[in-house]
Symmetry: D2
Subunit: 319 residues, 4 copies
Amino acid sequence: MERIAVLTSGGDAPGMNAAVRAVVRKGHHYGLDVVGVYRGYTGLIQGDFKTMDLGSVGDIIHRGGTILYSARSEAFKTPEGQNKAVEKLKEHGIDGLVVIGGDGSFRGAQALTARGFPAVGVPGTIDNDIPGTDFTIGFDTAINTVIECIDRIRDTATSHERTYVVEVMGRDAGDIALWAGLAEGAESILIPEAPYDLDEIVKRLERGSQRGKKHSIIIVAEGVGSGVEIGRQIKDKAGFETRVTVLGHIQRGGTPTAFDRVLASRMGSKAVDLLLQGESDQMVASRKNEIIGVRFDEAFTMKHQPDMSIYDLASILAI
Amino acid sequence: MERIAVLTSGGDAPGMNAAVRAVVRKGHHYGLDVVGVYRGYTGLIQGDFKTMDLGSVGDIIHRGGTILYSARSEAFKTPEGQNKAVEKLKEHGIDGLVVIGGDGSFRGAQALTARGFPAVGVPGTIDNDIPGTDFTIGFDTAINTVIECIDRIRDTATSHERTYVVEVMGRDAGDIALWAGLAEGAESILIPEAPYDLDEIVKRLERGSQRGKKHSIIIVAEGVGSGVEIGRQIKDKAGFETRVTVLGHIQRGGTPTAFDRVLASRMGSKAVDLLLQGESDQMVASRKNEIIGVRFDEAFTMKHQPDMSIYDLASILAI
Amino acid sequence: MERIAVLTSGGDAPGMNAAVRAVVRKGHHYGLDVVGVYRGYTGLIQGDFKTMDLGSVGDIIHRGGTILYSARSEAFKTPEGQNKAVEKLKEHGIDGLVVIGGDGSFRGAQALTARGFPAVGVPGTIDNDIPGTDFTIGFDTAINTVIECIDRIRDTATSHERTYVVEVMGRDAGDIALWAGLAEGAESILIPEAPYDLDEIVKRLERGSQRGKKHSIIIVAEGVGSGVEIGRQIKDKAGFETRVTVLGHIQRGGTPTAFDRVLASRMGSKAVDLLLQGESDQMVASRKNEIIGVRFDEAFTMKHQPDMSIYDLASILAI
Amino acid sequence: MERIAVLTSGGDAPGMNAAVRAVVRKGHHYGLDVVGVYRGYTGLIQGDFKTMDLGSVGDIIHRGGTILYSARSEAFKTPEGQNKAVEKLKEHGIDGLVVIGGDGSFRGAQALTARGFPAVGVPGTIDNDIPGTDFTIGFDTAINTVIECIDRIRDTATSHERTYVVEVMGRDAGDIALWAGLAEGAESILIPEAPYDLDEIVKRLERGSQRGKKHSIIIVAEGVGSGVEIGRQIKDKAGFETRVTVLGHIQRGGTPTAFDRVLASRMGSKAVDLLLQGESDQMVASRKNEIIGVRFDEAFTMKHQPDMSIYDLASILAI
């Protein structure tokens, strides 16, 4: 292997730049040429490549977003697009590819490996919803952004002695809601993985109010439904107003945390190791604090499960 | 004057605690007793008072929200409520009142002065929309919270090369939108004080895109309409998607900035000075960096105007 | 077991409050009375106790420091002091104790178990230097504080194209230096666990400068020596000035991160579980993402080792 | 005037990039060419110039430091150096210069105007010590960085009930110490502009301790002397230990606050206006919230005075 490429794909996540940096620097450490691909699979098909020297990834470890940009590619979903991509890679003398992104992006990577082109995935998404790894790059930053926002809301909630509903990201996975909910002492946490019981939610609010709680916070993962709708249901059932905040895209950006920078550095580095060891068709994963390779097929057959012990603990502690 | 009271009223704002601290400590400096009133005018009618010693305001200068809580009071809007409030104040031997809050709270204070009870206002609201003062307590914190959020959105906006619409607070006043808009280099700023021209907005987006801008940000004050609706209008006109974020209540909370802590300390202190000088029926104001007293009547006849030079400058610089 | 106590001891760490909250709430969940002890072992000897209801730990999960205060106690190091402490605990009908603190605090806890009094430790220290657990409460917050500070220094370092030496905490353990160093892309990381080679440091600086690096950062754990002294050595050897910053006590405070709040909640909860299961003479530990109990004796015979793979990786990536 | 240049000089300050952006964009607004000069006067003498189009200052408004770099130039202090600079400017067809920096940088600008070359200054320094303007670019960010750090120290100070001495920047001016001191409720503030009385400092500490204060903070501007030395004096006099933190270079960096971004945008814009109006030998100033031009000679004959009303107020409120 003499020349590898790296791209970021799917929703961006803080720490992706740290991962790109690790791929480039580790590649150079082994004497490889490293090529950056712009705009994910779109750039792969178009041959939108750029040679990356050591300095090209200087001063980016702490920047949110991705210097390689990200985009969706309909073209790449077709066999023609995938063939085109392999052609472009070979045309540029590239021997291996690192794909930083989520679940969907890894299926793209697998389409390349099915064509005999070595590719390895690095899990980058704020949602932490990729099966096979305990943590994804960007998750720790996202939950810290969420709790920073809710810490602010807490001030005004206390001043006015109100109940706030906060909708956080997580279409399919409740991880952000769970971690942020435990970290904020939220009265109730609504996640896609568990049914919610409006009576129980209202009962908890009333019990809290009776023992003098100055505010209550309910966290709703977007996959459960709109925070506004949940607020309305509570009002109908409980008879009091709630205020609703939808955190939205601020959860995607920001300077990555130390945890995410370290995770991204390790994962990016591991991806290069795997390629050099002749491995492919794998994603890098963090399991029990170890960085390992996991075959795509293994990951794809697993189902992501959030840590439900957090759910139970939050419920006990936010009494 | 031997005993004064202080309350916070209306929407809470970061720095209110610093203002409460200043009233209490400055009062003690002059040998006064100081009484805190809970939940604004509601507590005033109910006699929900608490004597505040020096330690009662320790370790609060940096806390968002208000330790005295805030609430709306329908009862206080009636003459009976207002009479009741004066009774309660006299019953507790209180000679003067400091009201920390917004426009509406000051009208309440004036109702007391009309009954011969000395009262002074301290402008606290994130909206900066109180006529007669250049700045209100909480505004500086709010705009810093807004730009911190938009800095995060900027990361993901750049990664995906998208246009973001961000709705910020400001029902009647565009100050938050204006300051945050200039500070973020927003392409367009929509405020209640100026009509907006969709053609112009779209033209600016297209011009930016042509010269290679990686993202665009449009800031909308809530008084103009919903950010979601503006996003839809842009899509209809321009033919491309935008992402919308409504910042909501996170703008109300958080640790106050240095500017707000200093402003609040000065204003709270000045309010006590005014009462001791026999002044009443006034609000404290910051004008051209000086802290002065302004008669309520003078303030009420003025109309708040945001600094429109910011509007023009933002438009020139975000080309 | 009907009544348990909790104290914080040694240097404070962000997240200690979240751990106290978890002990109190989990205790109440099981129907226990929970008593807070002020100022660590000092308060234990003096019987400075306070019954803690559910509300007593409200609104503290996000606060740095410890509401129970911390202090050093010479008296408790004597057998008399330890006997006195057990007496006081029994006098108040207390059946078990949770000690939140570091290594030294756990030896104190063991002195109590040696007298037949059940005690369990929860590892809280920013240094991450407690053998037997992968992470301690406060470490994640501390490294995030450090990188936030170095991100700032980076701006000015780049503007002036200078080399900065940053001294971070860690008398015996290099964990803070290692994680922050990898997360910041520091050129060199000096830790107590590894000898440093001034020639190598200077060579790396020169190589970086030759390939156009705009700034360099060297991180020194305090256990290695003073940052000022290291700066002087570099100057003598390399012939150019460095700027030195000693981060100091700002590393101890601040709002805990999501990771620390979750870890503290889990560990505090686990400590109560252990006591109720009749366990004692143990500390709670996080190993491979699992929260378990580890016998004090086992922990005390281990030696803390930082993850040296970070050291090697940082050296490769910050080329 | 057809072509202007801009440089940053002296210590960097957050907001300098926003000022550079404003100069470039406002220049283009008027149809001018704008040239960036690297490394201050060093680059001016060397002709290290770069034409700056609209995109060259994109995405920098929120970045600390200066993209034009800064450096000290001994060569420029000589008449030969100054002549050389004017030659270089003329050689490149440049008609006017904007110098963003401090006092010393403005004297350099005046050396150019004395040679008939139009130059205007924009005050950028965190110290706020430039006579003739109420605020300088970077000051607001610096005091917010300082209070963020002291907020952290406050947590640990309270937990251990200790006294902390914090040394902040300010060799000749106490502005940072004063604002941060009032904003933090510091017991004592030591600035170069006022003598300090150790007896009074100790008396205040003792009085605070007697009324149950959990911690005390003393802020020392570096111009007064080393924080370590002040800490030692307090120990000798009062008999108890203090902890000392020297904030150092973290005060120079970081994302600029909203206030600094707005101030920098206005000032940079005004500088271009002045040049186009045929003005020179002036600095831009903010006085009573207005942005005006002030002749260098006028500014140089004034002496900067911090707002001593803050000193008195802090002393009253931190009782």
